[in-house]
Symmetry: C2
Subunit: 415 residues, 2 copies
């Protein structure tokens, strides 16, 4: 079955918000073996929305729409779809009830215009919204299916999993299964150059590299009748790649560095603590965004001022005087200091120059020292990250944090 994603919202068209829904739906549909060849965004305009809907159904049998289910007067997706399928609107009592419960359990007053959200095209399949007010729905007719979902991702995503996925399963064809090999320290272009032949050679499974910020994700995808067949196709390929690129690979299907690190620390029953300068808490933020991280994260100190580096982390004033805050010596003492202070098994430190200001010829923007202090591994790594990007500061902070997480992961694996 061919599908298209049609996202509705003037705020998308004006660029006021980023369209994360298209990415989420595309990923989920691909995993169900439903091919998406087209994504479209149109504004809250009934005319253009109807036109886009017609074009989409001209190319595909399934059109999944997000947005325009809100309570406000410019939310018109349902009405437009009802018009397209020639259905009348009617009040859906269960939806109204659910909405009233939603507000009462929050001690909030339901505003009049929320009622609009309980109106449905006749014959629609309604998907309950357990995380917001707007229910979703599916309208079927003449071999076409329109699925309408709310715009907010925290409402749309669970609704897709709980309602839409089961609804679509009966239409889905082959199983498509992927494994993601996560690498850091190698560029996409270099990797593609090395792997080009095998990428072109492989048809099932296919191999494709995707550049993430400072990382490369190698996605190996197989399609088969059953999950087991797909796995049998994938396993040898994934193992071969992991062997060949072992110095870059930090995990398979691990999601990201922080999830890989927390999982490893939980496995080894070890604790980590962070001492950050230029990353300003980004390392601890990324570790603690993982549920359950409180089991493995002891504490973090974010020390911009040198006084704090000495006072709390115990970095020697003479060290700071002789080598400066951005130096391997300071990084080493920060890592040792936070480990000692916290009693954690692994101390991680980051000190560098994120820019845009603060660079010198000797210590340019993008220079970052990352330290680790632990039983099995104690070292400092020097990085010089690109500094010419417009978003240099955020980029440098992010990849610095990524490399700190990677170093912590390397230490954790040695326990």
């Amino acid at each position: 079955m061919k599908a298209e994603i049609l996202c509705v919202g003037t705020e998308l068209l004006l660029g006021d918000i980023v369209n994360t829904n298209a990415a989420y739906l595309a990923r989920e549909l691909a995993a169900m073996g439903i091919n998406v060849y087209h994504q479209t965004v149109v504004g809250d305009n009934p005319g253009r929305l109807k036109e886009a809907l017609g074009e989409a159904f001209g190319r595909a049998e399934l059109v999944i729409m997000t947005g325009g289910l809100g309570p406000t007067y410019d939310d018109l997706t349902k009405e437009t779809v009802a018009g397209y399928f020639g259905r009348e609107m009617e009040l859906n009592q269960p939806s109204l009830k659910a909405m009233e419960d939603f507000f009462s359990c929050r001690n909030m007053k339901m505003s009049e215009n929320n009622k609009k959200q309980a109106m449905m095209p006749k014959g629609a399949t309604v998907f309950a919204n357990h995380n917001g007010t707007a229910p979703g729905l599916a309208v079927e007719g003449e071999g076409k299916i329109a699925i309408l979902l709310p715009g907010p991702p925290q409402e749309m995503q669970p609704m897709f999993q709980e309602g839409v996925r089961p609804f679509l399963m009966k239409y889905s064809g082959q199983i498509i299964l992927s494994h993601s090999i996560h690498m850091i320290g190698i560029g996409e272009s270099a990797l593609e150059q090395q792997m080009r032949e095998s990428m072109l050679a492989h048809k099932n499974p296919t191999i494709a590299p995707y550049a993430k910020q400072g990382e490369v994700l190698l996605r190996v995808t197989a399609s088969a009748k059953t999950r087991e067949e797909a796995e049998a196709l994938l396993r040898p390929e994934v193992e071969a790649i992991c062997r060949e690129y072992s110095e870059y690979v930090y995990g398979v299907d691990v999601g990201d560095l922080q999830h890989a690190l927390v999982a490893e620390l939980l496995k080894k029953k070890r604790m980590v603590a962070t001492a950050e300068s230029c990353t300003g808490g980004l390392v601890s933020k990324r570790i603690t965004e993982v549920p359950g991280s409180s089991e493995v994260f002891e504490c973090g100190v974010c020390s911009y001022a040198n006084r704090i580096k000495s006072q709390i982390l115990g970095v020697g004033e003479e060290t700071l005087a002789a080598h400066g805050a951005v130096s391997p010596e300071t990084a080493a003492e920060m890592a040792a200091g936070i480990r000692k202070l916290s009693g954690a098994d692994i101390g991680i430190s980051v000190t560098g120059i994120a820019g845009p200001g603060g660079g010198t010829p000797e210590k340019p923007v993008g220079l970052v020292y990352i330290g680790v202090d632990s039983e099995p591994l104690t070292t400092v790594v020097r990085h010089q990250f690109g500094s010419r990007r417009k978003d240099g500061r955020e980029y440098i902070r992010y990849v610095a944090a990524s490399n700190a997480l990677r170093l912590a992961l390397q230490a954790a694996k040695l326990f």
Copy 2:
């Protein structure tokens, strides 16, 4: 002039990356008075790309494309556009030179396939890429303009500002000017209900609410011949709204809470320090992502373990024993403790239960206490954030951090 945005990339179609380029370009074009009514995403497939390009030019005179300019064999945007306009490809020497410099100044070896990126359709206007290897380009013919930009935002955005913006200026019509009124603590639906009449009444300027995570942004937009005329239309409207919603408004055109806070602290020459539990460094991360924040950010302590709360922040063990880590008493002592430890003018603390685990009937997931300790303002605010969302943990951490930044901003304004 009507424009469309056409983003190319199988990784977009598969949902491996989120399409931030469409949002960026839409915003920039709107600000130039160029209307975008359509955004499309297609994969790295010459046939479908050519078809999408034809459809786009059927509706618009300007099509801005991103992606598919990379060095790899599946990057085909340039070739497809050349085919559409009936142009041959030729090697662009300046682009080749720039690319060689890019690699040499990074002590990297240029791979053979990068040379492909210097090939251009005959007669194209080339936009230099100062942040990557792929140059951008514009191809004009028969009243149509195609602009091709690289996919990576950190390359595409500066190229748009330096090359594309000036290139497009000559086509732009009216000035469109917006002011963004940033609010926190009021819901979009409630706001829209209150403002509905005036939103419908206003044609120029227009007023539109956009929900951000835990915030509402009210965008007031005027179009006029000159910037001055637009300003004259906007000013009274913006001032009236700020007066009416003063308890929720934290700034106009301030970008976000952390930029508003750093700007206020710089103005007042005051320092802030943070003590975080459930936000795990997110507050300090958001403050320090603002360039120049080192002038106003003293330090941050992220204390998961109670021992750290006592040892470093000086929270009384009896306080923790009597009231627990998630309590107004602990929040107050954390704020006072970090202020004392750092010598900052404002101490901010966050302690709460981000979930998914750790909730109890007395202290459910989403309960967060935020404390501020400063000369003009010392208080603790209790929040109970929704906990039923799938992305509950990230949502709770984010809005908790937002409210901490807001409280710090309130204190800073009182100096």
